[in-house]
Point group: C2
Chain length 216, copies 2
DNA sequence: TGGAACCTGTGATGAAATTCACAATCGCTT
DNA sequence: AAGCGATTGTGAATTTCATCACAGGTTCCA
C-alpha cells in the first residue's frame, strides 16, 4: 500500500526520518560554531548509532573525509538538498483551529525552509481573520488559490469528520503529499503520500510503558 | 539509546503503536453500532494487514472467536486495559504556549481516558490564567503539585532551550515517561521512556517524496 | 449429523532495518 | 616519506518486523 513511487535505490523510510534529525542537529552545531563532526560524535550527542549515521548518508553519496569527519555546513546543505528544503517549500494548512493556529505561528518551520503559503478554514467567523502573517482563506477557494501558490504539501488540521473531504479537495488542487493530524485513515490514490501524526498513539505507547508496579 | 527497559515478552513497538489505532477504530465502530468485526474487515477499513492485526493481539492473549471475529466492546476494553487507559490516566503539560494550549483544549484526549491534570508555565503573564478547565500553574511548583496529582506522564511543550531542564524537573517530580515536542534529544536516565514528536521530521519525509519532476 | 463458509492464532518464511567489522583513506608527526 | 591514530563507506551478519499459510475452531443450514 505504500509510496515508493520513483527513486531507484530505495531509501528506507527510517533513514529519511533520521535525516531530518541530523539536519536539526547540524543547525544547532552551526550555531555553536562547530565546523567538523565525526560519526562517533554524532552517536555521543544524539544516541544514534555511528554506523547507522554513516549508512544513512551512504544512500546519497559520500559526504565525509576519512580520518576527519564531516564538514558541518556542507553536510547541512546537502541534507537540505536531499530533503528538498534547500529553498522555500510552500505548504497549505487546512483547518485554522487550535492546532492549525499553533502551526501557522511556528517559527521552526521557517528555519527549515518550510513556508506556510496559505491557511484555509470553513468557519465564516475565521475566514478573513489575520493570523500571523496570513489571512485565513475560505476553504472553498483551495483550488483557485493553489493555482497561484503551487503548494504540493498540505497539512490537515480539521476534525476527523471533515478530513477525507478536505484531503480530496487538496489533491484536486495539486497537492502531492499530506500531513494528517485528524485521527482517521485517509483513502488516497496510490501516488499520494500521507503521513499521520497521532498524539494519542504516542501517548498510548508511553502509557503502556508505565510498567507493572504502578506505585513506587 | 532506547527504551525497552523492562517488560519480558517483548512486544514490538510498532505493535503498540497500532494498538492505539485499533482502539480509535473500535471507538468509531462502537459509535456506528457495529458489534462484531473480523480481521479481514479491519484490513479493508484501515489498510492494516489482517494477519498483522491478529498477531498484534496475540502478544496479549486470545481475543476473538474463530468463524465469528472480535466483539467490538470487549476488544476495546481489553486494548484499553493493555495500554493502561482503562481508567483516567493523569498527565502534566509543561509549557502552555501555542502547542500546549492546543493540547489542553483537545477533547480527543479525554475520549481516550487521558486527563490533563495540570499545566505549568514559567511566564508570569500566563501563570494563574484559566485555560479550558485548568488554571496555568507555576513551573516552579511542578514537584509539589505532582505529589498530589501523581502524573507519571509529562508532555513537554516548551522551547528547545528549556526542554532538558523541565524534563529533569518532571522526572524528579515522579514522571516516568515523556512526550517531547521540543526539537532536541533529551538526556534521561535509562528507566525513563521518551518519545519525540517532530512535525519537521514528518514534513521532511514528505518533502523528500516530492519526486524529481518538480513542476507539472 | 455432516459439510460448507468463515475465522482465529501461530509457526514458518520472507523482507527490512540495524549493527558489526574491516579495508581503504586522510592528516599529522617524526 | 613512512608510520600511526582517527575515521569513513560498505558488504556481511544479525536482529527486528511483516506476511504467508494452514491447522484447528465456530456457526449455520440442510
Ligand atoms: N488540538 C490538539 O491538540 C490535537 C491533537 C491531536 C490531534 N488533533 C486533531 O487535529 C484536528 C484539529 O484539531 P483542533 O484542536 O485544531 O480542532 P479545532 O476544532 O480547534 O479546529 C478545527 C478547525 O477546522 C475547521 N474546519 C472544519 N471543517 C472544515 C472544512 N471542511 N474545511 C476547512 N476547515 C474546516 C473548523 O472551522 C476549525 O477552525 C482534529 O482532527 C483533531 O482530532 C488535535
Ligand atoms: N507550535 C507548533 O506548531 C510546534 C510544532 C512543532 C514543535 N513545536 C515545539 O513545541 C515547543 C513549544 O512550541 P510553542 O509553539 O507552543 O511555543 P510557545 O513559545 O508558544 O510556548 C512555549 C511556552 O513555554 C513556556 N516556557 C518557557 N520556558 C519554560 C520553562 N522553563 N518552564 C515552563 N514553561 C516555560 C513559555 O512561557 C511559553 O508559554 C517548542 O519546543 C517548539 O519547537 C511547536
Amino acid at each position: 500500500m505504500n509510496s515508493n513511487s520513483s527513486s531507484s535505490p530505495k531509501v528506507p523510510i527510517p533513514t529519511l526520518e533520521r535525516l531530518a534529525t541530523y539536519l536539526r542537529f547540524l543547525i544547532d552545531l552551526e550555531a555553536a560554531q562547530v565546523e567538523t563532526i565525526s560519526s562517533t560524535d554524532v552517536e555521543k550527542q544524539t544516541g544514534i548509532n555511528a554506523a547507522q549515521f554513516r549508512k544513512d548518508l551512504s544512500y546519497f553519496g559520500e559526504f565525509g573525509k576519512p580520518g576527519v569527519g564531516y564538514n558541518v555546513l556542507e553536510l547541512q546543505a546537502r541534507i537540505a538538498r536531499i530533503l528538498k528544503i534547500d529553498q522555500l517549500q510552500p505548504i497549505m494548512v487546512i483547518g485554522a483551529g487550535n492546532l492549525g493556529s499553533a502551526l501557522i505561528g511556528y517559527p521552526g518551520l521557517t528555519e527549515h525552509k518550510f513556508h506556510i503559503a496559505a491557511a484555509f478554514d470553513r468557519d465564516p467567523a475565521k475566514i478573513g481573520r489575520p493570523q500571523g502573517d496570513l489571512v485565513i482563506l475560505n476553504e472553498a477557494d483551495v483550488r483557485e488559490v493553489n493555482a497561484e501558490i503551487g503548494a504540493r504539501i498540505a497539512i490537515i488540521c480539521v476534525p476527523a469528520a471533515a478530513a477525507q473531504e478536505v484531503a480530496d479537495t487538496a489533491i484536486l488542487a495539486g497537492v502531492r503529499v499530506i500531513l494528517n493530524f485528524a485521527p482517521i485513515i485517509l483513502k488516497v490514490p496510490e501516488r499520494i503520500v500521507v503521513r499521520n501524526v497521532s498524539f494519542l498513539q504516542e501517548l498510548a505507547v508511553l502509557s503502556y510503558h508505565l510498567s507493572g508496579e504502578s506505585q513506587k
